[in-house]
């Protein structure tokens, strides 16, 4: 008998799962079969097919649910000729600009606030209740107040999105700061680092993976606030486009806009995951 054929219990046949084995402790060979990704692709295809068939058989009026072909045709038309005085690209650009401007505001405010919550009792006492108060309020609820205070211009739109992004950025930063290993800080202090040096060279880099996770969640939150932000006095933007279309019952533009928003959100998620992997390759491997 070769060494390779040796088993703990000679009665058990090699390769046969016996009832005493712990299934998760054994590296299983990858089964050739259906991957989750393929199942996802199939699900989408089936939904698309169902949509096409129901539109083709006119089970529902096109006003309620336009056919995929109509939506695609609208996509091409809007991309080329535009809708409500702007091309699709201009709408996307306006929305992306607002979301990223808001992200910068949220980082500029949220990271220091999170840091304060994480490192000082006073910071936690001051900001924790404020964030908990702000977090559950739907954007549509504070939108009127923001408009009253800051007018109908671009700043209020950015502010509405930034408010939605603030809590995830600040809370993730705080969690990251609180999660810094005590010993890492003590070691730096014993090497002679001052409090400021500890924060800059130890705490912030240690919290970076958590901060980036916060940014990813914030981008999602901000992007889903888009329609609300573009409710008042916008002339461009995906949210504005959808609302204008809805007012005239141009359902195909509404559906097309929803799909574009979803696609961009998906792409952003993908990009920021790549950024995470490039910036904090040590996360989860310490």
């Amino acid at each position: 008998m070769s060494v390779g054929a040796y088993t703990e219990r000679p009665g058990a046949k090699a390769g046969e799962a016996d009832r005493f084995s712990v299934p998760w402790s054994r590296p299983r060979p990858k089964r050739p079969g259906v991957s989750a990704r393929l199942i996802s692709a199939l699900t989408i295809l089936v939904l698309l097919a169902a949509w096409t068939v129901s539109a083709h058989l006119q089970l529902v009026s096109p006003v309620f649910l336009p056919s995929p072909a109509a939506v695609w045709a609208k996509f091409v038309v809007v991309a080329r000729d535009g809708f409500v005085d702007a091309t699709l690209l201009q709408h996307i650009g306006a929305s992306l600009w607002r979301v990223f401007a808001a992200l910068i505001v949220a980082i500029a405010v949220g990271v220091p606030v999170g840091l304060a919550i994480g490192i000082s009792r006073v910071g936690r006492g001051v900001f924790d209740p404020l964030l908990e108060f702000l977090r559950p309020i739907p954007p549509l609820a504070y939108l009127p107040l923001v408009v009253i205070w800051f007018g109908i211009g671009e700043p209020s739109k950015i502010l509405v999105i930034a408010i939605a992004m603030l809590a995830p950025v600040a809370l993730s930063t705080a969690a990251g700061v609180r999660g810094v290993p005590r010993e890492r800080i003590d070691a730096a202090r014993s090497l002679g680092a001052t409090r400021g040096q500890v924060i800059r060279h130890v705490v912030l880099p240690s919290a970076l993976p958590s901060i980036l996770t916060g940014l990813r969640i914030a981008l999602g939150a901000g992007w889903s606030t888009l329609v609300a932000a573009e409710l008042v006095a916008a002339t461009r933007g995906l949210g504005f486009m959808i609302q204008s279309a809805a007012q005239f019952l141009v359902t195909d533009v509404v559906v097309m806009g929803i799909l574009v928003i979803a696609t961009i959100a998906f792409a952003l998620e993908f990009v920021i995951r790549r950024v995470e992997r490039a910036l904090v390759p040590w996360a989860g491997r310490e």
Binding site: P181, E183, R184, I185, D186, A187, A188, R189, S190, L191, G192, A193, Q197, H201, V202, P205, S206, L208, V280, P281, W282, R285, E286
Partner: protein, 257 residues
Amino acid sequence: MPHLTLDKVTVHYDGQPAPAVERVSLDIGKGDFVVLVGRSGCGKTSLLNVAAGLVQPARGHAAIDGRPIAAPGPDRAVVFQNDALFPWLTAHENVAFALRLRGVRPKERARRADQLLKLVKLDGAGDKRIWELSGGMRQRVGLARALAAEPDFLLLDEPLGALDALTRERMQTTLLDLWAASRAGVLMVTHGIEEALVLATEIVVLAPGPGHVVRTFETHFGRRYAAGEAIRAIKADPAFAAARAELTEAIFEGETA
């Protein structure tokens, strides 16, 4: 010759009914290798943290040459069990960080960091990220970084605790080599009885409830290694086995079970 002294130190943590350590005195001179051993909960790490300045004693005094220890400082570099290294930096940059805190200029920093990595036998691994290194290599980086502070005292909190047995053996001689090279006074906490015997010039046995000193041993096995004797020959010496039995007895003395 600087002396680090703990004088009748009592450590009492907030919210705890009993002190963790009661009236423990220690004296570590430069060139000493003092090892604290004892069962869990005997306050070994608390004492080390007092020496580091990370914990303030409730009663008693911690001082270096009579100057009270009020805060951590680079004259007492600490190395922890779970490496407190920075994963976003390379091994070389981790060591250089300690030099940078001391205000060493970049060029000199790089040269010194190279030297220190060589001292811990990590030349060639300087460009590796911390998470690419094995446990033993990480501890070597931690030691190099601590030595970069050119401390009078090295405080080692179970520095080999997370390593496998074989790496541990090898790291023991590394520690002795570094101790001999730096001439620093060492205060180390360990669970390893053999490790204590191999390394120490003085072993302090603590017992819990609250932590107090049971016995102290003067040992010479570490000095024999420093004088050139092979580590395996030292461990095979009947005197080593006898010392080991005596130390084990002292640690488990009075334990019911």
